[in-house]
């Protein structure tokens, strides 16, 4: 009976010793997991493993055998000559080294743990103890893609930029085009793949992130032609975006038939149009006039998005510079022909005071 009891006590003590040893082996790994220090291989061997609560002599604790000389893990990490515990700590620290990603001048670091990755450290050290001196032991890594993808999505939130389109408005009777901004979109699948590869191959060189350029459709350069008509000054200016191209004298509506103010666009373009009397008092006895000299529309008609109003040539050059029309914008015939060839359906037309 007493022999059995003392045997049980001995067993309990040796178990306690083993647990203590295991704990001691485990402790450096916590520091390594933080991944903040940059040193790698030369951590000191752990202190001799003596337990505190010894009630019996500790003869059964296995003396750590050192790893054969020259053995490496994961290609680079020399663990030969280290105790398994020291090697474990070293490998953990080695693996915990953060991955860095780089975009432009910004470099970000992320630990494998944050990426949800883990290395089979114990397995590697176990093998290291039994391989021939100078051999290399691979370090297997579990790096689930969803964890990496989650991190890459946070990168995308940080780096992605939506493109901003240029917008056209009028200030002091001049077109103003807001500056466009090119957007960018992180190539997420490429980033996931590169980070995954970096974890698997134990490379910690900065990973360059790639983005796609998102070009706005409307830019200062592409906003194109803009027509601004000053009703009071009887002038028509053609701009290319904000840049003035040409200005013409025009005739606009008389006070009884004012040219409408506002933002319009060219909706139709016709060469050599017929003139038809509009449904208006002043034209009630008029007859249609075929194309040719004397046609009130000249040779070109650019209808704008205001009913029955347009920019056209006139056979009456003397009217240019005055507010005498029935609402339309008259130009000299060669001017109207020139303008006709510049503008397109959809070209904005601002009519201001």
């Amino acid at each position: 009976m007493s022999r059995g009891l003392s045997f049980a006590l001995l067993l309990a003590c040796s178990a306690a010793g083993l647990i203590a040893a295991a704990l001691l082996v485990g402790t450096p790994s916590a520091g390594a997991q933080e991944g903040t220090t940059t040193g790698t291989t030369t951590s000191p061997p752990p202190p001799p493993t003596t337990t505190t609560t010894t009630t019996a002599p500790p003869p059964t604790i296995p003396r750590p055998t050192t790893i054969p000389a020259g053995v490496t893990i994961a290609g680079d990490l020399l663990v030969g000559g280290l105790s398994p515990a020291a090697a474990t700590a070293a490998v953990k620290q080695f693996f915990a080294e953060p991955v860095s990603v780089k975009l432009g001048t910004v470099t970000l670091r992320v630990t494998p743990k944050q990426l949800g990755a883990a290395a089979y450290v114990g397995e590697a050290v176990k093998r290291a103890r039994i391989v021939a001196p100078g051999a290399n032991v691979p370090l297997k890594v579990a790096a689930p893609k969803p964890g990496i993808a989650r991190y890459v999505r946070t990168l995308a939130r940080r780096f992605d930029r939506t493109p901003v389109e240029s917008e056209l408005s009028l200030r002091n009777s001049k077109p103003v085009v807001t500056k466009e901004r090119v957007g960018r979109r992180l190539r997420q699948s490429t980033a996931v793949r590169d980070i995954f590869r970096s974890l698997k191959t134990h490379t910690r060189a900065p990973i360059a992130l790639h983005t796609d350029k998102l070009v706005p459709q409307s830019t200062r350069a592409t906003i194109g032609d803009v027509i601004v008509i000053g009703r009071g000054a009887n002038r028509l200016s053609l701009y290319d975006g904000m840049k003035l191209r040409r200005t013409f004298g025009v005739a606009t509506g008389a006070s009884r038939y004012p040219t409408p103010l506002g933002k319009f666009e060219i909706i139709v373009k016709w060469r050599n149009p017929w003139w038809y009397p509009p449904q208006s008092d002043w034209a009630k006895d008029a007859k249609p006039i075929p194309p040719g000299p004397g046609n009130p529309l000249g040779t070109r008609w650019m209808g704008i998005s205001s009913p029955s109003v347009g920019i056209h040539g006139t056979p009456d050059p003397a009217s240019i510079g005055y507010s005498v029309s029935h609402g339309c914008i008259r130009m000299l015939i060669p001017d109207a022909e020139w303008l006709f060839n510049q503008v397109d359906i959809g070209t904005p037309v601002y009519i201001v005071q």
Partner: protein, 239 residues
């Protein structure tokens, strides 16, 4: 629909709505045509790679304010006007016919194309939509191109002579209810021969009231114009 004018007045058709007055192939253009009085509205239909059939002269020329075929037909169904659908597609033809049927427009619609097989596909649909064969095909829009006018005129005058003789054969091959002919090639002999076969003659695209008057006088059934104002203007021209 009634494709022949019989003893009645010329059938007035707005080209792509009223292309002279508003952006073509849009509902706005339809409104502009109706405001000036038309009996039918002609418009083009294209088939995008996916999505509903759209109004447009080609996929590259879709108007800014796009309308689907369904929207256009719904618009026309609610108004006292006929639909002249010009096919700018050679696929999904059954969709065109069934859309006309769905909107109750079979009785006042005509479908035209220069592509004989497309027309036959439409004609083969149980809805029995009337069909019009377009001639000549102006695939490259040369008739609108500057500098081509004199050549076109000579060519069309020659065609005008030759066309009348070919009318019976053309009708037999196309199996059409109407011939949609470029206005310049239409002569009185052409109209007489077509009518003898019970086939209507529609002339496109006429923006000159004097030409409209000529076509009216030789008995053309319908005239398609960018500018429906010519229909009322022609009455005011000196004889």
């Amino acid at each position: 629909m009634k494709l022949l004018r019989g003893d009645g007045p010329l059938i007035r058709v707005g080209h792509r709505g009223a292309a002279m007055l508003a952006p073509e192939n849009t509902l706005r253009s339809f409104d502009a045509a109706l405001a000036h009085g038309v009996d039918a509205i002609e418009f083009d239909v294209v088939a995008p790679a996916d999505g509903p059939l759209l109004l447009g002269h080609s996929l590259a020329e879709l108007p800014e304010q796009r309308a689907t075929l369904d929207e256009a037909l719904e618009f026309l169904a609610g108004r006292d006007v006929a639909a002249h659908v010009d096919l700018k597609l050679t696929t999904r033809l059954d969709e065109v016919a069934s859309a006309l049927e769905r909107h109750g427009l079979i009785g006042r619609a005509v479908v035209s194309s220069f592509h004989r097989r497309s027309l036959q596909a439409v004609a083969g649909h149980p809805a029995r939509v009337p069909i019009g064969f377009t001639y000549p095909e102006d695939r490259y829009g040369v008739s609108n191109r500057r500098g081509m006018k004199p050549a076109i005129r000579l060519g069309t005058l020659a065609l005008r002579q030759a066309l009348a003789a070919r009318i019976p054969a053309m009708i037999a091959r196309a199996g059409a209810d109407a011939l949609m002919l470029q206005h310049a090639v239409v002569s009185r002999a052409t109209v007489v021969r077509a009518h003898a076969a019970g086939v209507a003659v529609w002339a496109w695209t006429v923006d000159d009231p004097a030409e409209l008057r000529r076509l009216d006088a030789i008995g053309v059934d319908a005239v398609i114009s960018n500018d429906p104002r010519i229909f009322s203007a022609v009455a005011t021209l000196p004889p």
